[in-house]
């Protein structure tokens, strides 16, 4: 008798792996379900390889979304719209869509503006149960137009926890890109010429500003899109790193082998007193740990003690050097 008789039917494992993916992508999914999947995956290498194999090809098929009939007229344009006029044009297109394409509405869209100052943190609870959390130095506008759920992220970073409603999808516009919620929470961070969207839980659709050359993508938990004026790329982050990215919600910055240069830039987003790293060699040091976002002094002290660097405290700045 060979051991083969005891082996579990691989077709069966395959079917189970497919069911997990189906439930994750098309059913209701939460952290409890994720924990059950994680447990199943650690039960045996056979489970894990079957899942990895199906998941890898299934992820590839996300590109098929490009075949969807366009929801807005695609305009061939050599350069992405990125200025105030561009936003106005999109806003106008949006208003025209609200009107059902029947008539051109000339009225300015109605919205409320919410903002935070440097180091600020604000939670906005919407009537539909959704929540938006603003990080430091952030400005958003929320559409007031009836059932339409639309937000513009004009500046900064915001965390969206959206109550899904298939008939009234929640959309976020940022740098001309559109993020459409499909039952989800996600983080959007806008910088000068870079937009980062991290999907924390559930799914959302990302529609790049330059829709003539870039296709929409459905984002799953852990997916991170980075869009610049000329490119859109998709990477993944572990749950642990995503939790770190959300540290500001509890008022902390989480560094995980972050270079001093990047850590300083992070602190400078929150504080008037700016950290200046004197030279490139010093900037390459890395830091690990969790720090209060608004306590620059403490960070300076830790850098001094742990990394053995020189830290000069001034009124408006902290200079770190060798």
């Amino acid at each position: 008798m060979s051991a083969d008789h005891k082996r579990i039917d691989p077709d069966d494992i395959n079917a189970q792996a497919a069911q997990w993916i189906e439930r994750r992508d098309f059913g209701t999914w939460n952290s409890g379900e994720q924990a059950r999947l994680d447990r199943w995956l650690t039960e045996s290498a056979a489970h894990r390889v079957a899942f990895l194999r199906l998941n890898s090809s299934w992820k590839r098929t996300e590109r098929l979304i490009a075949l969807r009939a366009p929801s807005k007229p695609s305009v061939v344009e050599p350069k992405p719209k990125r200025n105030i006029v561009g936003i106005a044009v999109l806003t106008f297109a949006f208003v025209a869509m609200v009107a059902g394409g029947v008539a051109l509405r000339l009225s300015v869209p109605q919205y409320k503006t919410y903002a935070t100052a440097l180091g600020g943190h604000r939670i906005i609870a919407l009537n539909d149960g959704s929540r938006i959390e603003l990080n430091t130095d952030t400005r958003i506008r929320i559409s007031d137009a009836g059932a339409q759920r639309q937000v513009w992220l004009d500046q900064g970073e915001a965390y969206f926890q959206i109550k899904h409603n298939a008939t009234h999808p929640f959309t976020v516009m940022a740098s001309g890109n559109r993020i459409v919620d499909l039952g989800t929470s996600f983080l959007v961070r806008k910088e000068q010429s870079r937009l980062e969207v991290a999907l924390i839980e559930g799914r959302a659709r990302f529609e790049p500003s330059n829709s003539a050359s870039q296709h929409p993508t459905v984002l799953a938990s852990g997916d991170v899109v980075v869009a610049t004026p000329d490119s859109v790329s998709l990477t993944r982050k572990s749950q642990r790193n995503l939790a770190g990215d959300l540290g500001w919600r509890r008022g902390v910055l989480v560094f995980d082998y972050t270079t001093l240069a990047d850590a300083a830039a992070e602190f400078n987003r929150y504080n008037r007193q700016k950290i200046i790293v004197a030279d490139a060699d010093v900037a390459r040091h890395t830091v690990v740990g969790t720090f209060p976002a608004t306590n620059v002094e403490l960070f300076g002290h830790v850098v001094q003690v742990i990394l053995g660097l020189r830290v000069e405290q001034h009124k408006d700045e902290i200079i770190i050097s060798r």
Binding site: S2, A3, D4, P10, D11, I13, N14, A15, A18, Q19, I21, E22, R23, D25, F26, G27, T42, A45, A46, R48, V49, A50, L52, R53, L54, S56, S57, W58, R60, T61, E62, R63, L64, I65, A66, L67, R68, A166, L182, G183, R205, H215, V218, S238, R240, A243
Partner: protein, 197 residues
């Protein structure tokens, strides 16, 4: 009394050594091993008489390869996968003594014939889309329709069921079937051993 505290213990937020090994193995398996599937299938087909055993053999090769990667990630994925496949076939023959192996040692010639298994990973987005579309077209009609609604239109299981006036269970079955078949097609399973799902 039985102490169960060991299994109930809360997991720490920091990944332990085993988790780190698993994520390294996952990454390696995804980026280095799966693109070799067409080559592996060719090898198994060439060296094993009974086509209905092939999916089963492929799974066993993957398990062995993955378990090895948990200990340490092999340097040359192609050589390692094919050597694992050959050893597996030899083990099977010894155990079952039914199917003779014709040319299980013929690794090098196969290796040359398939020197660029990763080539289609560098195709343009447009070619990739065409490729995916062709894969979609090979699904059975009903399954294809459900996958299109789910994958392209972005509908949930409940929404698809309502649209097609079928039960959610049926939708779920078609989606699972689609996920399996697309894996076979996209990982390059030769057409003559397409599996019944």
């Amino acid at each position: 009394m039985v102490e169960k505290s060991g299994t109930d213990r809360e997991r720490a937020g920091v990944p332990n050594a085993a988790e780190t090994a698993a994520s390294a193995a996952d990454l390696w398996f995804d980026s280095e091993v799966l693109p070799l599937e067409a080559l592996l299938m060719q090898f198994l087909e060439h060296n094993w008489r009974n086509p209905s055993d092939i999916p089963d053999l492929r799974q066993d090769v993957y398990v062995r390869v993955y378990e090895a990667a948990l200990r340490s990630v092999p340097e040359n994925p192609k050589q390692f996968v094919l050597a694992t496949a050959r050893n597996l076939l030899i083990d099977r023959v010894r155990h079952e003594q039914v199917v003779p192996i014709e040319s299980a040692a013929d690794l090098d010639s196969l290796g040359v014939a398939f020197d660029a298994p990763g080539a289609d990973r560098t195709v343009s987005a447009r070619d990739e889309l065409r490729h995916l579309q062709a894969a979609l077209d090979r699904l059975p009609p009903r399954c294809r329709e459900v996958v299109i609604l789910g994958r392209i239109e972005g509908l949930s299981r409940t929404e698809i069921a309502a649209r097609l006036r079928v039960t959610e269970h049926t939708v779920s079955r078609y989606l699972s079937q689609g996920i399996c078949m697309l894996a076979d097609i996209l990982h390059g399973e030769p057409a003559n051993i397409r599996r019944q799902v």
